[in-house]
Symmetry: C3
């Protein structure tokens, strides 16, 4: 202030009034508000893009781990899942998730809006585009269903899986997610904390898988007491899939901030990137060291699982932990997957791609550890508690497992869920058909890779 005159006092008053006047404020603030709105919406769109690529990541991981005779079927499952989730989340999912009453458990289905599919009208005051938010949220449903797609591969009937996906993405996933992200019961009563889906996405996928594999039964690969070892058909494709998942996870965890337009928001997202990467890296190294110590060798696939385990574990709270805490969280996640996969195999819980270990168990671990990593910085009033986290895990587990089991059982006793043994042995790509006789008819299309 070079011109310190007696006018300064007047000017200060002028300035305060100028800037506190709403009429004037509109001339200045919108620039900032607009930028914030664009930042937030862009971030959701870009995060959604990175996350949507994860569908391809899951597909490749599953194709790489499975036998090549089922590869085309897994691909078909994945692209069908993306499409069904995209439509169901519009028909019912989004409304169910975000219209649950505060502290409630279920959206009142009878109200008019549930029968009016769609996305809320754009409200510029909301800080981001509703459509961008919808796109971002929709991909979560895609991810949940993609987890299920792989685990049941190699023996499930294609159409039964599609029907299950309709219910999973349109109802099961959004109902339980509404309890937390829709400001429902778990959020309000229990301060349940799950920032980016350790429980709401990954455990939910894992519970649906668990119900499925129990009712579906294991693949015919157990001879007496021994398991028939099946080589991964393509470690490179599985590795590419894992890298794609790793990258998409920055979208999940960063995007879940739902805002990027302020210094505070972008600092949070940057911290989330660093923690997410640390947890994944620690998961890889934990799996690497643990398999070396236990089995005296390193398996590429075990290490890929280690990355997924680390990433699932950090998802419940990727912002608050210090970097060393993120390393610990991820390392434990990597260890859980490494130990759980052979254990589940011993109990003949036959999960073709380790989804129960990586998504369900690490999801539970990640949700519980929030109490440790979050405690220091949050005030005690709304800090997550071990009881609240446990109640959330159990409520969602019981709900998803029960409803999924019900759907699988109904499907089993109607259209059937398992291909016949001959089909399973010769591979689903060649035989999973509803009318085998058409197979060699001239009417068939020329493109191969078909699921007959």
């Amino acid at each position: 202030m070079k011109f310190l005159t007696m006018h300064t006092v007047i000017l200060a008053t002028v300035a305060i009034l100028v800037f506190s006047s709403p009429a004037i404020a509109q001339d200045i603030q919108p620039a900032s508000e607009t930028a914030g709105f664009v930042f937030n919406s862009s971030m959701l769109l870009i995060s959604g893009l990175a996350m949507m690529f994860m569908a391809a990541g899951f597909c490749l991981l599953q194709v790489g781990l499975a036998q090549s005779k089922n590869a085309a079927t897994i691909c078909l499952n994945t692209i069908a899942v993306v499409s069904i989730a995209g439509i169901m989340f519009w028909l019912t999912g989004y409304n169910i998730l975000y219209n649950v009453p505060v502290d409630g458990l279920l959206t009142p289905f009878m109200e008019w809006w549930i029968w009016q599919p769609g996305i809320a009208t754009e409200q510029t005051g909301s800080g981001h585009s509703s459509h961008a938010s919808w796109y971002f949220q929709m991909v979560f449903a895609v991810i949940v269903a993609s987890i299920v797609a792989g685990a049941l591969a190699e023996r499930i009937k294609f159409w039964s899986f599609l029907v299950f996906t309709i219910f999973l993405t349109g109802f099961v996933y959004p109902i339980q997610a509404s309890w937390e992200w829709g400001q429902g019961y778990l959020h309000t009563t229990w301060q349940f904390a799950d920032f980016a889906g350790s429980t709401l996405i990954h455990s939910t996928g894992g519970w649906a898988v668990l119900a499925g594999v129990i009712i579906l039964g294991p693949r015919t690969r157990y001879v007496g007491t021994r398991t028939d070892r099946r080589p991964a058909s393509s470690v490179p494709l599985a590795t590419l899939g894992t890298f794609i998942l790793w990258l998409g996870w920055f979208g999940i965890n960063g995007g879940s901030r739902m805002a990027a337009g302020s210094t505070e928001d972008i600092l949070a997202i940057s911290q989330i990137f660093v923690n997410t990467n640390a947890s994944a890296a620690a998961g890889v190294l934990a799996a690497l060291v643990l398999t070396s110590v236990l089995y005296k060798k390193v398996e590429a696939t075990a290490v890929l699982y280690g990355a997924i385990g680390g990433l699932v574990s950090i998802s419940a709270e990727p912002l608050m932990p210090a970097i060393w805490q993120s390393l610990v969280i991820g390392a434990v996640g990597g260890a859980i997957v490494t130990l759980a996969i052979p254990l589940l195999d011993r109990f003949r819980i036959d999960d073709a791609v380790g989804a129960i270990s990586a998504h369900l168990l690490c999801g539970i671990w990640g949700t519980l550890v929030v109490v440790w990593s979050n405690n220091s910085t949050t005030t005690s009033d709304n800090a997550p508690s071990i009881v609240g986290q446990l109640i959330g895990i159990i409520m969602i587990g019981v709900f998803v497992f029960t409803v999924s089991s019900l759907i699988w059982l109904i499907l089993k006793h109607t259209i059937g869920i398992r291909v016949i043994s001959k089909q399973e042995l010769s591979g689903l790509d060649g035989t999973e058909s509803h009318q085998e006789t058409v197979r060699n008819s001239p009417a068939q299309m020329r493109q191969p890779g078909e699921i007959r």
Copy 2:
């Protein structure tokens, strides 16, 4: 306003004058202008990145559908196409596209600037970086040529294809695109509407393919009246390619807005994302259901085509349709591909990757349906009409098909366009060579995967 004194009136006047004064305004507004400029340019760069990945997507889709003995040749074609398009669009393409006279048909080639390759000087007043815009536009040329690369695979001579690509990306594509995006004849006289290239990109690629396959003739895979069925060599790679294309399409359709820096723009882009995804999903499900009904089985490749069909169909107008309209547009697109591929095969129009069905036919469908989806919200004066759309489709079709045919014919009668039958049967990867005798000389490089 806590200090409501008599000074308020004066202050209000002060404020109005302060903010209406241009001299002062420059202190405030540039922040917003700068942000807008950065938003717009960043969006073009990021969209361009996502779109450029589509070259890899086309490559993988084509490799996955073709026979493995031609895989390296297809890869070589794709990476050469990206490079040639990148240089030709600088040498001539960009200038041809954006210097056409208003309501004109052809850039005056004799003017100095056409011989001065390059990108327009940066003008900060334009709202975005010219170089960012150039990069974004250049990728369109890459995509057009990538469509052609795959369809003619498995029998075309490598060098002939490269020469064709030079003309396609440097002249044919930009001339017809200038009629619409360069504010030329179709835009001005006919209010032709093609927001993101259903006709300008996809049909153009499709017409070039059609000219090529007719002059080139079908692959030697027809035995009497039957078609020799050829399995896709890798459904997983084709699926990965399709997912990459799906993602890149958000770049095409969203980026074609050419601006992201205002609330209106980002709302439009968000809506475009939702509609684009809906159309792709509907294309997948239409192909899924239709193949099940018609052929009593589901083919993975048919479903991949369904996604492409849906995406091409929504490209002409991805903003205006309601979501349910996007679903209808995509479903019809998916159905068109599903029905057209075996039909074209019956007529022995041998398009190795279904490009004519997916890009040409769905491109026409998408361009026509704009009249339906766009009508409600646009004033009648500049709303697209069915006549205008048809004239655009026909003009571009006649132009591209004629010029492409001419180029193919000249190539056929000079350097030749088709490999000899022996080469075709043993695969292009091993035999497409201009001097077979060098093959075993010690001078040859050690890297394999060569195109000899």
Copy 3:
């Protein structure tokens, strides 16, 4: 200005004072500052994402070029490298790189902060998030180590490579990078110019490879005077890898601007995109034409190397060159790779993926050519000189080659660096194990693709 009264003069004074008053300025400017901060940080995060995908790109390129019996080992190496680099760059790397004294050569290791791993505290005045910057910088260490991973494939011991990676990413890379990017000796005394790592990243990786291949010795594929030709196991995967690298390079070169929030910055990034693409395209076409002329055939893999050569060459200065200069720089880079690979092979410098040719030699070329492309626009005082560039290249070369050799030699005489010949012949995927006897024990995990 409709109200031109005598008050205008007063008002102008008011306005000037209002906007020059710091107290008031904080009410207005932060919007712009915030936007700039968010732009810069977002750009670093998004660039980092694109670059991190390059780890998968290197993996696929290397898997595609190598023999399939070593594919799983290469995948394992890559994902381990990403994890180790991620942790080492936190433990020591970042501090070493950015705490070197001005004009210095080595961070004082004894100071407290070097033993306190981590990332600098966030400073909002710095223009971007420290965590975003850390994430971006960390990926550079990943890339350096990824270059090494592939070149030594097919005969190196897994654990020895991991130990080397710890030293490379935690010490060797950051020490030499601090001389330039940490404002150390080369930057201050010699005005050494390496914008995005032609020398600091690519040559560094290349020198580490050169030390490795000399000490490790060639693969057992030389029979008398002839080289045993080994086909690339998958040209499609190698091509996909190359496309991913090409895309990630926009992140490297664009992101190295470290700012995107002003018109000047985004114009620079846009120009960088165009130049980077031009150089890659020219590298492809140079390799295409040169192999045709020299060997009378075109090899897909040679063309892929051409792209990498072009990209490495433009990295030292991607902003200043005109487009035609970028084309020249890239074309020479493509030619260097094309000629160097068979030459090195003749000298039995056995680099499994051409890393020495593509990264070391093109890195040197790119660093030298800065003097030509940069001269016109920079004032003579701080323009890079040919002497300064040579000193930088030599200093870094001597340092990295010497230290790497030392590490390799120590490893060779302790835990060993080369697998036994039998293992090499049967492929590392099946035999690279530390306790062969466990192989068939029931304790082993079921997942295959293992590195035993």
